[in-house]
Subunit: 409 residues, 2 copies
């Protein structure tokens, strides 16, 4: 979708385990911050799209999550829509906010992503991920992946019983296939984790602030081969909000350096044939076309590094390098701050954290600040064009939902 939307304001909480904070508190902080950043009152918000993935499982709150979070802020009466698309819930909310503004239906719309994943019982946190796959399909999928890489024991069935998300089994299988096909190494995956830890060390809102070396990452506890712990995104809580406005509203607000949403693309996954392009390729191709840009035009990227190998594979799918070259790009330093195309300057999902429903909107927060030149120690000098990629869930052999957004200042 080519959009006419502008990012009017952004705000987010720190990400991390925040056992004493609930959805209302996290969401409220993010919304207040975004409205203040936009220079609007909460009663200027004309509609709200609220992305959340796990509240039903973790807190029991289903159905009206947005109303429950926004009502205490005095935000009622307006249309509130609760949207889910697994880890892409936040960017799906943002996509719809952009659509409503582009359509001229509203000129000031809130997109809120918020998640409370941490729970005294860790199995509850992990159970949240079980709802993000086809519950009838996941066992067959895992068995199939294991068979493909000749690895009956390594992937297993994962899930809550083993104290980790079954998604890490899926990522690990995909990583082993990438290694087998392209010669990618575990050290190259570790280079991603190390880079993102460096970026996270510069981000006061990141869940983890410690900078790790490649060696640190390699020597960390093994979760599922080849993934050591820092190659896996953590469980965390947080909220991130974006106020999406029309061009006219942006002008009325006197925004001096507006960040425009050139394109916002959402597609769902399907069971594609081997070698067929998947959702990331589909979304990014469309996003580039509608924005009139290409990968060579990008100054900064936030992408969905739910695991370190995912970042390597996304490099290729987004066209930042040739197929099979993702591992080399990772170790080249080109995607580090100061490099040719810095990726995940926020620290990414690996280090900023991955409170599922909030991840998509948090990417927009980071990129908006980059495009405004207000990222401080993490600033990519002269950044003008940015891309966000956020995927969610599993359907067939692809993500269930995929969003790609291109922004320009």
């Amino acid at each position: 979708m080519r959009t006419k939307a502008v990012v009017g304001g952004v705000g987010m909480t720190r990400f991390g385990k925040q056992m004493d904070r609930g959805l209302k508190d996290l969401g409220g902080e993010a919304v207040h911050a975004a409205a203040a950043d936009a220079g609007i009152g909460l009663d200027d918000i004309q509609a709200a799209f609220v992305g959340n993935c796990a509240a039903g499982t973790v807190t029991g709150q289903e159905s009206i999550r947005g109303q429950v979070i926004l009502d205490p802020l005095g935000i009622g009466r307006i249309p509130i829509v609760n949207v889910e698309n697994a880890c892409a819930s936040g960017s799906t909310a943002f996509y719809l906010a952009c659509a409503m503004v582009t359509a001229g239906i509203h000129d000031t719309v809130l997109a809120l992503g918020v998640e409370k994943l941490s729970h005294p019982d860790k199995t509850v946190s992990f159970a949240a991920f079980a709802g993000a796959v086809d519950i009838e399909e996941v066992q067959a999928l895992l068995a199939g992946l294991a068979a493909q890489v000749g690895d009956a024991g390594g992937s297993g069935t994962g899930g809550a019983g083993k104290g980790r998300s079954m998604f890490m089994d899926i990522y690990a299988s995909a990583a082993r296939m990438h290694m087998a096909k392209w010669g990618t190494t575990a050290e190259q995956f570790a280079a991603v984790a190390a880079k993102n830890s460096y970026h996270g060390s510069l981000n006061p809102r990141a869940q983890f602030r410690e900078a790790l070396s490649v060696e640190d990452v390699m020597q960390s506890p093994m979760i599922v081969p080849p993934l050591t712990r820092p190659m896996c995104s953590p469980i965390g809580d947080g909220g991130a909000a974006v106020i999406v406005v029309s061009e006219a509203k942006a002008a009325a607000l006197g925004i001096s350096r507006p960040v425009r949403v050139l394109s916002s693309v959402l597609h769902s996954g399907w069971n594609h044939t081997p070698g067929e392009a998947g959702t990331v390729e589909l979304c990014s191709k469309e996003a580039y076309e509608e924005a009139g840009t290409g990968p060579g035009d990008l100054d900064v990227v936030e992408l969905h590094d739910a695991s370190a190998p995912a970042e390597v594979m996304m490099y290729e799918a987004l066209g930042l390098c040739e197929p099979g070259e993702g591992g080399k790009l990772a170790e080249s330093g080109d995607t580090r701050l100061g490099g040719r195309i810095p990726v995940n300057t926020s620290g990414g999902l690996l280090r900023k954290g991955h409170p599922v429903g909030a991840t998509g909107t948090a990417q927009i927060v980071e990129l908006t600040e980059q495009l405004r030149g207000s990222s401080g120690d993490r600033q990519v000098n002269g950044a003008r064009i940015a891309l966000a990629q956020n995927g969610g869930g599993k359907k067939g052999n692809d993500a269930a939902a995929m969003c790609v957004t291109i922004l320009q200042s």
Copy 2:
């Protein structure tokens, strides 16, 4: 929202307890039927909005419910958005489909509402409703309502433990307040249930086909005073789909008697002061204004009779009668087939059934058929303008989400 959308096709399953059918089966039947009715192939669908309320609780499937249902039909790649708004999930999906078509972003969009509520363990079915209220708020709300009507024992805390939805406690309290304020009688509520049972007896897709007299309703088992069992909507399963198209697409499809969506309005609830208009008044006022119609123009109405007293109260809120006159309208026969303004010709939630997420789209199915003149024994002669009202969840002292739609042929 004033819309430019047209109902291109509709389809639904029978509603009712269908213990051997899952979401994929129910949703699939509805989608196939709607596409066939529109004269399109499934691969003509450009985007899908899927409303569901209870799958997370009842089946464990969260996050990607739409993808899980649509993928087996070969519907992938397109944008799929999972939306929740409790009992208004289906009409929220329809609202968004209308928005995307009105915006010109797509010209053929699926709105699917689907629900699987029945479960061998009834407490699981009832637990689904617990997520449709602010889980921190409901106890305080119930206690407050009970105190207002001086009825500490009648309402109780309800919920799963007592084998019924806590919503029936809320409706019963509101009914008692209406009786105290306006002199409304239990027999008038029973008249609603009897009327809707007559309508349901004519609807092959209704969960209950038995026609009940007012006396039958009054003598049925008491659930919570003054509600007897036929005054309460049942637990059931079903799917209802609407293909929303642009005017140009409707013309290209050669639709001879297009049903136009004049207005589609969604608002969320808030904690309003006594006497202040609530969400139904807000939504219907806006819907009438944007459609250029008023209550006197309506030929047929589907409204959210989750309980019989709710229908009485909606008569007033929608302007079908003066405040306090709802009970008299119910017993007048004016809202029965053949009357001045037939309401819930489908049998309504009480008799057609209330598979939560499917209810909103099922209302559009019924009204579209009425406006096409294809409702058979239930046909309202010469129906040209119709209204649907669908509410969901509880926030403060109002519904959490409310949708009103006005259609015209």
